[in-house]
Symmetry: C2
């Protein structure tokens, strides 16, 4: 491994020795590293697949999960493909025929622009679909191998689960980089102006987030409908434990973990990184243009600045690979597996910080502003620290070592009502610290960026403040591959536990998978916090990209500054509608779970009635029927919230064109910007509330199960189960879908901005 890095460093140094900007060299490096990431993913997948697949009993269950997950994803992807094809055609028509061509457009004809935007949309959508599929594919194969390995060694189980997760993590991040880098290379080869390329490939981010939204929604609804349905009838009505083979919805529940957490989150982070790459490239292009005009050109030229985000991401992939490979237990298997994970993550963080410093010095060096590169480097460090802060805050609010979860557990003593009231209050409260951290990160990185250039440069318009926030975002996303590996680790270990439980393995093995499962719960919560934090930072970067784009497409004169003035009534209304979108979307996502869960409940009840022998192990329940019902239900229910998210910003943009006047030509674009920004603000807070609130309820229940306030079967426990059930659609459906929604709002407005002007 270390040899590889050494040779890469050599390669880089050779390339950067010239003073001329070596665009192709940099692009080659980026594409090479993304291919390298894919190769490693393949190697890890092979490593995992070679492992033992356990007993026949285990295989039976694992196969049922596999079949269910594949059937769901096949149907879901079909639905998404229909929707995406419609959108692609619409984009083509809108760009090619509805909108009239302007001289200042990035390409000479309307049709050509329409072609590139739609093609990049299709590519983004396709890659996102594949990324989600791969995540699920490897996860449903790693679960049984993890379960089987647990029979012998905890270390083996840990490594299989994490490396299985890493296949998806690496694949997602490398694919996203390869897509953006590859598109860029193709357009460059076709002789396009490098500064205009990002505007031609904005569709890639939108395609990715469009698919991510539906994948996360569909998967999220599926997983929680199955879970809530299984719990309500199984645990509460029939009185059988979780993951019990007598429950007809149990396989659907296990399938849910894969399609919700793996496929959904995979598509989510795929689009995060893709959108962030493109946004940062647009900002880089703007900065270098201004720097050149102001007499402060970067040493390696504007293209180097524009490609910096891709290089930073590429180095992050390598750092993540090293971290993942280094995760292992001590010989006696005494340490907390979380500790092993943390050690690997620390390696990845430190390595990626070093790589960041190197990339900054290499690509962002500026003779006229010699401090610039380390200012940007510090912005990257801020991003990394932000992600660390998010990890700690999420732990404080969701682990039962701390005050918030204990408060909920204590409130359970007085029944479900006080459990819910306290949980909601903890959920609302936990938005405060992350907001403060994000605020500090934005202000600090903006300030560092702004002071990267001397005073006289700033006066000339060379303001790198926004680029500073972009670099912080890159810092936060540097270790995305590792984070995603940890995230997929969750459902794999959860499934492994389910397989061990259902195939009635001995207590000692269950204990091992329980240990892993506990770690998986923690990593799932942490990665959600991370996803929100990065969405918040990335949003800021995407706003700026949107504003730059509006300026370009409006053809306004050089000195023109586009503002988003929410004191204008029309813009204020845009902001109000943006915030409302978040509430309404959450309502629809939560209700979708309720509706889909109802189908499950009815089916399970019907099965218990049709075959009373199920409860005494005489009859076998029809798992497939349940899987089928929840599949159909989830896909049906995902359409409404998904379409709302897509249509609302578009409608505001188009309807508010009514208010365009001679003195206020950009009012529609400005209102959409307000919708986007205030929607993002509300979305961040709401998602934090939903994610952490749900996590806290979950662990309050676990705290009681650990023997507090009367332990299992006590009244407090019953109350805590209510809270846990309420939290399920919050933390696994609405919350994660909001992350994607926020980012999709940015990318959809980026793509459609030219139509609002």
């Amino acid at each position: 491994m270390f040899n590889n890095i050494g040779s890469l460093a050599n390669l880089i140094i050779t390339q950067s020795s010239g003073t001329e900007p070596n665009t192709w060299g940099i692009l080659f490096l980026v594409i090479l590293i993304s291919l390298f990431g894919l190769v490693i993913a393949l190697w890890l997948a092979k490593w995992v697949l070679k492992k033992d697949t356990g007993t026949a009993d285990m295989q039976k269950i694992s196969n049922a999960i596999k079949m269910g997950a594949e059937a769901f994803l096949r149907r879901q992807n079909r639905t998404i493909i229909y929707l995406a094809t419609g959108v692609a055609l619409l984009i083509f028509v809108l760009y090619g025929f509805v909108r009239s061509h302007h001289d200042f457009d990035p390409v000479p004809t309307a049709l050509e622009l329409a072609f590139w935007v739609s093609v990049s949309f299709v590519l983004g959508a396709g890659c996102s679909l594949i990324a989600g599929y791969v995540g699920m594919w490897v996860s449903i194969r790693s679960n049984i191998r993890t379960a089987s390995a647990a029979i012998k060694s905890l270390n083996d189980a840990l490594q299989i689960a994490l490396r299985g997760g890493a296949v998806s993590g690496l694949f997602v991040v490398a694919m996203s980089l390869l897509g953006v880098g590859g598109l860029y290379a193709v357009l460059l080869a076709l002789g396009k102006d490098p500064a205009h390329i990002p505007l031609m490939i904005v569709g890639y981010g939108f395609g990715a987030s469009f698919v991510a939204l539906f994948a996360q929604l569909g998967g999220g609804i599926y997983t929680k409908a199955a879970d809530v349905g299984a719990d309500l009838v199984g645990k509460i009505e029939a009185g059988i434990p979780e993951d019990d083979p007598r429950n007809p919805a149990v396989i659907a529940d296990l399938v849910g973990d894969n399609v919700g957490d793996c496929a959904g989150r995979g598509a989510d982070l795929f689009e995060s990184t893709a959108a962030e790459n493109i946004g940062a490239m647009i900002l880089g292009a703007t900065l270098s243009t201004f720097a050149e005009k102001g007499g402060f050109p970067f040493a390696l030229g504007g293209v180097a600045v524009m490609l910096f985000p891709l290089v930073a991401r590429a180095f992050g992939i390598i750092a993540s690979i090293v971290g993942i490979v280094l995760v292992k237990m001590d010989k006696e298997e005494k340490i907390d597996p979380m500790q092993a994970m943390n050690r690997g993550y620390s390696f990845a963080v430190i390595l990626s910080m070093a790589a960041f410093g190197f990339a900054s010095r290499w690509l962002l060096y500026n003779e006229y502003a010699p401090q610039a590169w380390w200012h940007f480097f510090l912005c990257g460090v801020i991003g990394v620290l932000t992600s660390v802060a998010f990890v700690y805050i999420t732990q404080y609010y969701t682990e039962y070592k701390y005050r918030p979860v204990r408060e909920i557990a204590k409130a359970s003593e007085t029944g479900p009502a006080t459990n819910i009231i306290t949980g909601i209050s903890v959920g609302f409260e936990c938005t405060a610290l992350p907001t403060i951290v994000i605020s500090a990160a934005i202000l600090a990185s903006y300030y560092l960026g702004k002071t990267a250039f001397p005073e006289d440069a700033v006066v000339k318009g060379v303001n790198a403040g926004l680029f500073g926030t972009a670099v912080a975002t890159m810092g936060m996303l540097a270790t995305a591959a590792f984070i995603l590996a940890m995230d997929t680790f969750g459902p794999i270990t959860d499934n492994a536990g389910g397989i061990v439980e259902m195939s009635r393995q001995p207590e000692a093995i269950r204990k091992k998978t329980d240990r892993l499962d506990a770690v998986g719960n923690t990593t799932k919560a942490l990665t959600k916090g991370y996803a929100i934090g990065s969405a918040a930072l990335a949003a800021f970067l995407l706003f700026s990209a949107y504003m730059d784009e509006v300026k370009l497409y409006s053809g306004m004169s050089e000195g023109f500054v586009f503002k988003v003035d929410i004191s204008k009534p029309v813009v204020f209304v845009g902001a109000l509608l943006g915030a409302m979108l978040i509430f309404l979307f959450s309502a629809l996502a939560i209700r979708a779970v309720g509706k889909a869960a109802y189908y499950v409940i009815n089916d399970v009840r019907a099965q218990f009635k049709e075959k009373p022998g199920i409860l005494t192990f005489k009859d076998e329940p029809d798992y497939g029927r349940c899987v089928d019902i929840v599949t159909k239900g989830a896909l049906k229910e995902m359409i409404l919230p998904g379409l709302l998210a897509v249509l609302m910003p578009v409608s505001v943009g188009i309807i508010f064109r009514l208010f365009i006047s001679e003195t206020d030509r950009l009012i529609a674009a400005e209102s959409v910007a307000a919708l986007l920004m205030v929607g993002t603000i509300c979305g961040i807070l709401m998602a934090t509330f939903l994610n952490n609130g749900g996590g806290a309820w979950d662990n309050a229940k676990k705290f009681i199960e650990a023997g507090n306030y009367g332990g299992k079967k006590s009244d407090a426990h019953k109350a805590a189960v209510v809270g846990d059930t309420v939290g399920d659609p919050f933390k696994d459906t609405a919350g994660p879908s909001l992350h994607v929604l926020i980012k999709m709002l940015s990318t959809i407005t980026l793509v459609l901005a030219p139509l609002f002007i």
Copy 2:
């Protein structure tokens, strides 16, 4: 009654016959009508007090409620007076010694400005305290009279309850008008420039809202802590019905209705009307100044425009009085009492619309823009229609005739978890329609205002758009006195029902008070919707007042336009913090209820243990001890959320002065504006969620109690009780406190703006 109106109209016509602006005449009219409103309030109070006070049993209960409520309010007011004194001193010091005097200040010395702002703050705070006290005073005397009247006639009971409520309604609105009008008159008599007076009395609105915030918080925490506490131990643990005399917390619960709903809402609407008056006056002053400069002077001069809001409010008082007096049942007492109420309200609405038209024609006539007055009149009509729309939407989401509540009731069949999930999803969903209505109202009234003047006037800067939204707000608030009467009607009938129940009156009388109580529940929900809608509209007006003020205090040149550009990172962070404030405040308010309820629960349990005879009617519980404990608890718990609300905007304003630079002198004021606006947006949505969600849960329970899904004592009913309990602190503590918070944010920033510049 009609004679009075006739003579007033004569008076007005006499006064408006001159073409010179008759400032003193208009002011005289306003003060006269407010005094008239107070006289009518007094007359109604006497009318109510003359009524029969029922049996000795009833009096015993009523006296216990009276003592408890008075004890709480005395203590609460003492706490609030301490806090307000501190703030008054702080304002004086900040204005008089910290901030340096500028030439463009409205008065010649810093100390004089400090004097007026602090004095108006003290006056506003004092009036608000008195308004809250009067509301409670009359309510705890009307309850027993309503109960006693119910023995004989439903019509008598209805009239006593409504007229008792009207005492507080009229008193609040008339006092607020008298305060603003009187302060204005005093300053005018002292020879101050009329256009500068609003800036000197901004403290009045802040004083009012400061008190309102703590009154609503303290009262809201008290009422729900008592309610939740009484229900949890009484209904669930001991299995005794609601309002049962064996429950030691039952008197505290009945006290809570008075201190939460009457005193809290009284202070809330007092400040609404006061703040809206001042905000509209500032906008009127700006508009008339620009109109004069642009060559489009109003016929009766600028002062007439500035005083228009006061006149419109004064006419609204008369319209409300007529409406209130006209409410009565049919002879057979067969109609729904709500219908009788609605008829009276329709009268008030129609009359106030007519008066609005008259006032517009009289004071806003402009020879150079002859269409202006009826454009403004239409804005007022939009305001009235908005309030009607809010009433319907609130009904749809909270009454069990419609889909949302029925959905929650149905979900109760599968247990408390699905009840909660569905309730939250309904709550989130119900934010959509009000947002759309508010958006439409803002855009339409802005558009009407903007087109009130011809094109060439707009080019010269005569833009009446914002004034149009201000007039819409006035329209919405025109019937505030009637609405407040309906609101106070709620706790009076609730208490009357409690008294009848506890003194074990025959079934027939209980049925009568139950009919009134059901109406009271509806009116309480409706007025909350109304309060949010008016807060949303009024907020927009207060933003503009803030921006005008910033412009004035910054001493920027004439053509300067102050923008709130949330695409600037510092301003965006302000917006983010504003939204976060809403979440954190809600968390603290909800948690405060939980904590205070815990004290109640422990005391009730202790009492049952100490005297086991309580449950068999052998021993009498110690009601006073419970009242005392919840009083202390509520006052202790209100401090933290209250201080957060006050300190957060101030801190942002002061800390963000760090970012002030030569090119961006107003950045701190701009960030505070963003905090205010986005905080308001989130606050409106969150309050709507909390209010309607809570209302829907409440009525889902009632729907089941009416015999659906198994009726009382079924499992569905138990689940619905959980939802109802969760909804309690939402709809009666956090939601209403958010209304006040939104308005206090506006007024506090208005007062402190000069310090952020």
